[in-house]
């Protein structure tokens, strides 16, 4: 299970994109079944989102997993002995105590998705106004030699991702809390 979730870290994005494309294609079993209940994932925005979720899963899972293993086991055990179920313990005790890991996971997964190229190109198909994302747009602009437009997109992505990371490190490093006091 862990190996499966971590796979997207090492697998070329195009490979994942290709298999997802095949899986969701209406001519195969899964895609056909999804089509029959009205879900279409190939070359649609929904498909793009779903693929990105799968692709960015390790970035979310790993910080949370390491956060949980670093918690003292006595926290969960104390909650069980107080009669709390596993779900209650997870929601009320474990997750609130790994907030930095949660934030890191959410933001890394988000930032990673912004810069995604291979998977979204394969499953989304770069349809203008529908599934063409910024990172693909940059490639297209360079292809047509519109360097000014490519620069605009690139600069925007650069700033957004940089800002996100700055915020994460500020919050997790406790700088904001200290500045507040």
């Amino acid at each position: 299970m862990e190996a499966l979730i971590t796979m997207p870290l090492v697998l070329p994005p195009t490979v994942i994109g290709f298999y997802l494309l095949v899986a969701f294609s209406p001519s195969y079993a899964l895609g056909g079944w999804l089509g029959s209940i009205g879900l279409q994932f190939v070359f649609t925005f929904e498909g793009l989102v779903l693929a990105s979720v799968i692709y960015s899963l390790p970035f979310m899972v790993q910080p949370i997993q390491s956060g949980l293993t670093n918690l003292a086991p006595s926290l969960a055990e104390a909650a069980y002995l107080l009669g709390k179920s596993k779900i209650t313990t997870l929601i009320r005790v474990l997750l609130p105590n790994i907030k930095p890991s949660l934030l890191t996971g959410i933001v890394l997964a988000f930032a990673h998705t912004i810069g995604e190229f291979g998977v979204v190109l394969m499953i989304g198909g770069s349809i203008p106004g529908k599934t063409k994302v910024a990172s693909i747009a940059i490639y297209d602009e360079v292809e047509t030699l519109d360097y000014a437009m490519a620069n605009a997109y690139s600069l925007l992505l650069f700033l957004v991702t940089f800002l996100i990371l700055v915020v994460v490190y500020l919050v997790n490093g406790g700088y904001l809390n200290r500045m507040w006091k």
Binding site: A72, S74, A78, Y80, L81, L82, G83, K84, R92
Partner: protein, 270 residues
């Protein structure tokens, strides 16, 4: 009455050994379980609480079966109604002291009970602090208060007095005693050092090489403190002869002995 027969392979200081015990804990008694570190004391508590399963064995509390390997019965810790005070306390850092107590309740918010517990353990000043800001002794006190809030039928204490200075240790002992009496608990306390604690306990069980045996308080106390039984006879200071039977550590005995040589007020005899 709690009865347990436990059998489990454990890894100790000198390799793998087999824990094989059969013990009974009569209702409302205070038992101290002592033995060297790595002897399996904590494992016994964990098996009673349901946090660890023995390979073979049986645990019953009154008429309820908590564990029976032959019938494949295992009652979850949530259903055993046991209380456990961990060595590292296990307080929830995301809640204040009071919130820790509120969260601990099985029934929904009983404000009166919480107020009572806060008063009993003198936590009034600490109730709105986060556990992160408490001292070791205060944390133990909160953990003790939190563990008994649901009126458990058994209280398991894992070395609650270790790593505390003498004054804090004495204070915490008072609270443990108070909790044990007020809530009519069956208490089992694990310890590797019995100094001062003997006044609370009803009996002492010694765990050695995976086997439990009952010993007298004096034996146990003497073993952990290298005790010497002696008498002090004092005369002049009080004006009459008073004979005191004492148990003191070797160190203290030597000090007294030295003093009795150059001071005829104190006479020491073995």
């Amino acid at each position: 009455m709690i009865h347990c027969q436990l059998n489990k392979q454990l890894r100790g200081a000198s390799g793998i050994f087999e824990l094989n015990i059969d013990a009974q804990f009569p209702a409302r008694t205070f038992t101290i379980l002592f033995g060297e570190s790595g002897a399996g004391k904590t494992s016994i508590l964990r098996m009673l609480a349901g946090l660890m399963t023995p390979e073979h064995g049986l645990i019953t509390s009154q008429n309820q079966v908590w564990f029976d390997s032959s019938k494949k019965i295992y009652l979850k810790p949530q259903l055993r109604k046991g209380a456990f005070v961990f060595q590292d306390q296990g307080l929830f850092p995301n809640m204040t002291v009071r919130k820790n107590l509120e969260f601990a309740q099985r029934q929904s918010n009983q404000k009166k009970l919480i107020d009572e517990i806060i008063e009993l353990f003198e936590l009034g000043d600490l109730q709105h602090l986060s556990p992160i800001n408490l001292s070791g002794g205060q944390k133990q006190k909160v953990a003790l208060a939190r563990s008994i809030i649901n009126q458990p039928n058994i209280l398991l204490l894992d070395e609650p007095l270790s790593a505390l200075d003498r004054r804090t240790r004495l204070m915490l002992q008072e609270y443990i005693q108070k909790a044990h009496k007020e809530f009519k608990l069956t208490t089992i306390m694990v310890s590797h050092d019995l100094s001062e604690i003997h006044k609370i306990t009803d009996r002492v069980l010694k765990l050695e090489e995976g086997v439990i045996s009952e010993v007298t308080v004096e034996t146990a106390f003497g073993e952990t403190n290298k005790l010497i039984k002696g008498s002090i006879i004092s005369s002049k200071a009080i004006g009459e002869n008073i004979k005191l039977e004492i148990l003191v550590s070797r160190e203290a005995y030597e000090m007294l002995e030295k003093r009795s040589k150059d001071d005829d007020e104190i006479r020491l005899c073995k």
